[in-house]
Amino acid sequence: MRIVLAFLILLLAGAAQAESITLASTTSLDNSGLLGRILPLFTKASGIEVRVLAQGTGQALATAARGDADLVLVHDPEAEDAFIAAGHGISRVEIAWNDFIFVGPRSDVAHLAGSSDAVAALRKVAEAKAGFVSRGDKSGTDSLEKRLWREAGINPLGAPWYKDIGGGMGAALNVAAATDSITLTDRGTWLSFANRRDLAELVQGDARLINRYRVIELAPSRIKSGSPAAAHALATWFAGAQAQAAIGAYTVGGRALFNPGVKVIP
């Protein structure tokens, strides 16, 4: 029991050291290793420790709306609009972008390879009844997929070839790899994903597939730590020279995953 108490004290001491803020972000930014690489630079410069909650965009925004985060970094324009309209967020700045791609088995029964039209691709998927894995978790990727289906004029819900797995990007890629299915993925998660098996990049290059990451500063009443200054410091840092250079310099297997680029969203 003494050991237990010693453990507990160590644990609590470890948890309580520096000023810390909670960043609710998406799995794509965290699982790809980007945040783990660049955030230590911020901590070193500011002394503020950043705790990353890696959730889908829908869940990250819900977490922030409940007052359980200090800053949000997500990628779903429509959900962000609703979040800001509801008064939870006060400002939004784009800090990085890359793109989404359709990946699927090399056998490519729907003949998607080489195409760059995301909506036409989904029509072909439905026509060929090719296996398709959907996140189904209200993440940024999931919202985009649903928007593209709407644009294609197809409701795939309930179709036997459409698998709604209700899971993260990695889970969806695992299912797609195991069942020879097509799925929509952000490029960062795809490039850092280690279990691709027979999956290959099939569709890319559509303007609708651009993936923009935005930092949202929260209304003071929503900020968890009670330290708007620290949250503002991190938001400013993301858009600053050091973070932007680090985002551009981050590679996995020799390939850049994210493009830096700052744009204030009015």
Binding site: L8, N31, R51, L53, D68, A194, N195
Partner: protein, 212 residues
């Protein structure tokens, strides 16, 4: 991922703390259930057994809603901390320790209770003797509680948030690394987890045999 060892140690720290907390609540409850004959005892007994299969995700969800800043205990600021994970696992382990502990103590009470009372001991005075005689069963109860806490992922993922270096445990790391397709790492941690579980039961079995 984080370093391997800190994750293992953090997991152990959280689960041992939770087992400790569950023992503080569950063991006295077990004794009261085994020795006492009071109104409502049957109801409590049924409840304790009913909660044996408490789903971790439900515990996680309820605790999340309580600890969230919008929730009634939000001011404590405990969401996404190791303390929140300890609370969740304590809730999960308490019924196990109470139910199995009750069974162990009651067995000895039925066996030796009359003899102890005949020698002039009150129920309260007989308790330390009973506990000593039932220590094998009590150790099993604590071990079962620990096993439940160290292996569950549903509750700690929700209330801990799987934050690197703060609330990332063995089970949440396995979930995360599986999601990244890093099966080697996930499997390695899985083996450590199984190893801990087997060593703990071995120790209890050996200790129980020596003292029986």
């Amino acid at each position: 991922m984080d370093e391997f060892l800190p994750i293992v140690l953090r997991s152990l720290a959280v689960s041992l703390s939770a087992t400790f907390g569950a023992t503080l609540i569950g063991l006295p409850l077990a004794a009261v259930l085994a020795l006492g004959r009071w109104p409502g005892r049957q109801v409590v007994l049924v409840m304790v057994h009913g909660l044996l299969g408490l789903p971790p995700v439900v515990v996680g969800l309820v605790l999340y809603l309580l600890l969230s800043r919008s929730g009634p205990l939000g001011l404590l600021g405990l969401l996404y901390t190791p303390e929140a994970m300890i609370m969740a696992q304590t809730v999960l382990a308490t019924p196990i320790i109470a139910a199995l502990g009750h069974r162990a103590i009651e067995g000895r009470w039925l066996e030796f209770g009359r003899a102890l009372q005949a020698s002039g001991a009150s129920r309260l005075a007989a308790l330390p003797h009973l506990m000593r005689m039932a220590r094998g069963g009590i150790a099993t109860a604590l071990l079962a509680g620990f096993g439940r806490t160290v292996s569950e992922v549903g509750a700690v993922l929700i209330v801990g948030g799987n934050i690197a270096g703060v609330t990332r445990t063995m089970t949440t790391t396995i979930t995360l690394e599986t999601g990244k397709g890093n099966f080697d790492l996930a499997l390695a941690l899985g083996l450590v987890l199984v190893g801990i579980s087997i060593s703990a039961s071995t120790v209890v079995l050996i200790a129980g045999r020596d003292r029986a």
